[in-house]
Assembly symmetry: C2
Homo-oligomer: 180 residues x 2
């Protein structure tokens, strides 16, 4: 991939920005309804000043118990987590935590469509990988297996997500191929 | 409904508490994966004290652009909003806002299962009402129609949700009847 492609193709936007724009595109065209969940926050103290809006003055980030994105596509439930890595050749499993993996298992048991979207930020390529493959690596790790998913696995068992100006990351085209 | 039923049946828990317990029950039994979305908060200022967790010191509540709950049931997308009212004979439409109604329309267009769960807190009875009926009243209101949904409509076109100790509010039993 050459320098131009990096400059014009993605222009330094984060994976999350690109996914939000993509979801907005899908929403406007009635192709899918997918939203990012709000960041979970534990609210401790709130001020209610007169004649103005409530102000939260003490709060803490909570660990998410689910994944980042979910929604509906042709009646079916879609659920995914997005991860960006600076590593060139692998996706470290420490990018995920227990609760997220547990949630993905639950979604798969319930026949939901569940995957991760991985961006290798150096090359700026993005892959969709079924959650089952992540879970396989996760479980192997528990019994002494490697602490990351190799890029080759993601290339071979995942699917390159088409990038363009609109939609930025057409992951729905992959979902149609793989899950319908 | 007599006094005993009020005392022992629900014991003053909020609709949200009851739904959260119900969802936990469904989750543990692999019947469905449904979560309440975190309250959306706009974070303005964060302190990062040494050797302790990040503290949010200025934040504001944002208006939710979707409904409160969503998830998956047998592969299908489920989406609902929960509302409690002290009114005895009606559910005021001012309990909903534009964004939520828009979201419900989008979900229905995408063939998701979409409804509201309404609790009349005086009598403590709870109904599941398809989002299509709410939207019908919402649209009529725009052209001079009434500003609420009468209780009789909810009784007639909705479905009484069974209450027990476990699960507290068995809305899934209604979903199976009505949507599958
Ligand atoms: Mg993420
Ligand atoms: Mg609500």
């Amino acid at each position: 991939m050459n320098k131009n492609k990096i400059q014009y193709g993605n222009r330094g936007m984060s994976l999350e920005d690109d996914l939000n724009l993509t979801n907005q595109y899908y929403l406007e065209r009635q192709m899918a309804v997918v939203h990012k969940k709000p960041t979970p926050v534990q609210i401790v103290k709130v001020d209610y000043p007169k004649r103005s809006q409530a102000k939260i003055t003490e709060a803490y980030y909570r660990r998410a118990s689910t994944t980042d994105y979910n929604g509906v596509f042709q009646g079916k439930y879609i659920d995914f987590e997005a991860k960006e890595t600076h590593n060139v050749n692998l996706l470290p499993l420490k990018n995920f935590h227990d609760h997220q993996i547990k949630h993905m298992r639950q979604v798969m048991m319930q026949q939901g469509i569940c995957f991760i979207i991985v961006k290798f930020s150096k090359k700026q390529d993005v892959y969709l990988l079924d959650a089952g493959i992540l879970i396989r690596y996760w479980d192997l790790q528990q019994t002494g297996g490697r602490k990351s998913i190799p890029r080759e696995t993601i290339e071979r068992e995942g699917h390159l997500v088409p990038q363009s100006y609109l939609p930025r990351l057409d992951y729905l085209s992959i979902v149609k191929q793989v899950y319908l």
